[in-house]
Subunit: 186 residues, 3 copies
């Protein structure tokens, strides 16, 4: 008889626990379900490097133009890019995908930018895309932006990407290391 | 006595299984919880069609301008749009909402773009918005972008939208079919 | 014997219920797991206020320029901003963070915009960022946009932000109240 009562109460607990209303607050594991590290390389058009350039200024404030980055920490310059992605930090390594999107400088007194872009893969290693957005206070050694979605191999992905400036040469070339940590994998 | 021991171990299993730490990796169902298909129509301002135009070039690279799409696969042209959404592929059907956002061309040697936009609904059928972002390699027959959020009827939505170019006429008109598959519905 | 059979069937129910395939459709609680209210202040550069301006026009349609907002409801103007965030509606209160991003006007016959931006915090109160995107039909009293991600204290956040225009002065200053409701907290 006691066993029966126990089982009944057990049943109740299970039913309540498994009801489809999710709790508002969950403690979730903070271990990435996928982690990927890539580099991408940005060569900004400066009026002389049409052959090699992978990006171009497409917006500028009243005090700027679309050939040379403006004063005031480039505030207001908008850049569109199609940059090669590599597995190591060598610009001449075989690209495994393209980083496509835009960034703009958004602060007058220090270099800060904001990024919206995708990693687009179509190789044996990866097929699909990862979409990113977020603020990039680029003078900091590491900066976190959001992985806001993905397609193909990265279907419905969400996570964090840590950006690190791996190199920059004047106002023409920079290389970012992107450490992608996905916390939602489907 | 055996029953009691079994129940006790059962209890332990349940408690462990239901602990609030979510597993890092889940296999999740890939059936959409909502699916919607729409068309939207983009008529680009070209200096002569101010009356009908639904979009305009607002950014251009150094070698371009804001009236005519630039050479090099329109690389660097930024377009802002407010396009009618229809249920069928007829531009003159009664719009059910507006597609509002921007796109830019981001590659020199082939037509490729990147999109950030919203579907804004305020009709008897739907109220609310769906937000999208992603790369659009528009020469491909189908392209997947991310549904990054939603409001109103589409509260907290996430998913994938498959874009298909349904028609295009020169550099003035194109029509996209958008097959929206939501995998997170609230 | 009966107890044993009950326990066996119980086991089966548990195993089935806890299988790792999530149901496609869930009813989820719509109570925010975190709620935050902030104000941010936008002072648009107009050719005379370089000292105070926090934003600048960086894109314009063919009929506009980057010093004065264009006619036709500013359609096509793109603005980049780095605005102070305050806890109350006083522009001169100590900022608790920066709102950094861009907006553009996207409709010819009424004021409507689209926003992509981040709240960037680095104070004792909050560290990290919240990323936003969505349509802002700014003539409406309240407008909902999406919280598409977060970092630091707002790791992996998702939710809705309700925007309210708290003040605007001609075409130079506006203040938005942002009521952030997070429904996914990690």
């Amino acid at each position: 008889m006691e066993a029966k009562r126990l089982i009944t109460s057990l049943f109740l607990i299970i039913i309540l626990s498994l009801s489809s209303v999710e709790p508002t607050k969950k403690i979730r594991a903070r271990n990435p379900c996928k982690r990927l590290v890539f580099y991408f390389h940005d060569i900004l058009y400066n009026g002389k490097n049409a052959e090699n350039a992978t990006s171009a200024i497409v917006g500028a404030p009243a005090w700027g133009n679309t050939t040379i980055l403006a004063g005031q920490s480039h505030f207001g310059n908008v850049v569109v890019f199609d940059d090669p992605i590599t597995l190591d930090n060598n610009l001449h390594s075989t690209p495994v995908g393209r980083a496509q999107g835009f960034y703009f400088y958004d602060k007058k007194d220090i270099f800060t930018s904001w990024l919206g872009f995708s990693f687009v893969f179509n190789s044996t290693g990866h097929k699909g895309s990862i979409n990113f957005a977020g603020a990039d206070p680029l003078m900091n050694k590491t900066r976190d932006i959001s992985v806001i979605g993905g397609t193909g191999d990265f279907f419905m992905a969400r996570g964090i990407a840590t950006l690190m400036t791996d190199a920059f040469e004047g106002e023409v070339y920079f290389r970012l290391c992107v450490d992608i940590k996905l916390y939602e994998c489907w």
